[in-house]
Symmetry: C2
Subunit: 139 residues, 2 copies
DNA sequence: CTTGACCTTCCACCGACTGGAGGGTCCAGC
DNA sequence: GCTGGACCCTCCAGTCGGTGGAAGGTCAAG
C-alpha cells in the first residue's frame, strides 16, 4: 500500500499513454485529477498506472472516451452486471461492423472504377467521369 | 452559357452540399470564392453546382478534402494523365483496406471476448478482465 | 408594415489528441 | 556554486470536416 509514487513521464512509460495525453484525460474528466507533489508535479500510484493501461487497451480496441468512462465505472463497480459490459461491447461491435460495411462498399466502388481506368498518359478516366456525373448511390 | 444564377440555398438543394458546408469549402479554399450579387449574396452557376456535386460524391467515397482538391485539379486539366487519377484512387483504396483490416481485427477481438461473457446479472466478465490485464496486442 | 425565409459574418464546439511557447524544477557533473 | 539537460507545469493553437448559433441585413408575400 506504500505505492510507488511515479511522475507523469514514468506513468506514461509504464502505461503506454503519452504524458500529454494523460493530462488531457485528466482535463477531460476521464480520470480523476492526479495527486500533486510539493513542487506541483503530478504523481501516480500503481493503481493509477493500471487505470491508464486499461484506458490504453480500450482505446486500442476503438472505444470512445465516453464508453471508456462507462467501462471504468463498470470495472470499479463490484456489483456490476456482466450484461451491461457485454451490451456496451456489442454496441461497439455493431458500430464497427457498420463502418466496415460502409468502407468495404466504398472500396469496392473505387476499386472497380480504378480497374476500368487505363492508368497511363491518356486523359480519359472513368473515376473522374463517375465523380462528375454521379451515376448511382453508394450508401 | 447565360447560366442560371442560383443562391447558395438553391445550390445546396441541387448539389446535396449544405449551404453552411459550401461556405466552409470556400473558406478552406477547396472551391473558389463565389461571385456576389449586388446585395452581397453569393450566387452560383451550373458549373459551380456541378463542382459541388463532384465534391459531394467524392466525400461520399471517403476522399479527404485535400485529395478532392487534387481530383478537381486533375478533372479540370484536359491534359491530365489518367495514371495520376488512378494512383490517387488506389492510394485511397489502400488506406481504406488498412482501416478495414484494423477494424476487423478489433471487432474480432471484442466479439470473441463478448462471446465468452455471460451477459447476465453476475459481475465476472472476460471483457473487463482483458482490458484490465492487457494480455496480447491487437495491432 | 410586418412576418418569415432567406442571406451575411463571426465565433464556438465536436473527438481525441498533438505541438509548441514560455516558464519552473531537479539532479549530475564540474 | 553554476550550468546543462531532462524533466515538469500551464495555456493556446492546430488538426479534420464540418455543425450550431448569435446578431444582423434583404427580400417577397400578404
Amino acid at each position: 500500500m506504500t505505492g510507488t509514487r511515479v511522475t507523469i513521464g514514468e506513468a506514461a512509460r509504464r502505461s503506454g499513454v503519452p504524458a500529454k495525453t494523460i493530462r488531457f484525460y485528466e482535463e477531460s474528466g476521464i480520470i480523476a485529477p492526479a495527486a500533486r507533489d510539493t513542487n506541483g508535479y503530478r504523481f501516480y500510484g500503481e493503481s493509477d498506472v493500471e487505470t491508464l493501461r486499461f484506458i490504453h487497451r480500450a482505446r486500442d480496441l476503438g472505444f470512445s472516451l465516453k464508453d471508456i468512462g462507462d467501462l471504468l465505472a463498470l470495472y470499479r463497480d463490484q456489483g456490476r452486471a456482466s450484461r451491461d459490459v457485454k451490451d456496451l461491447a456489442l454496441r461497439h461491435v455493431a458500430e464497427l461492423e457498420r463502418r466496415i460495411a460502409e468502407m468495404t462498399a466504398i472500396r469496392d466502388v473505387i476499386k472497380t472504377l480504378a480497374e476500368r481506368c487505363h492508368g497511363d498518359h491518356r486523359p480519359d478516366c472513368p473515376i473522374l467521369e463517375d465523380l462528375a456525373h454521379v451515376p448511382q448511390k453508394v450508401s
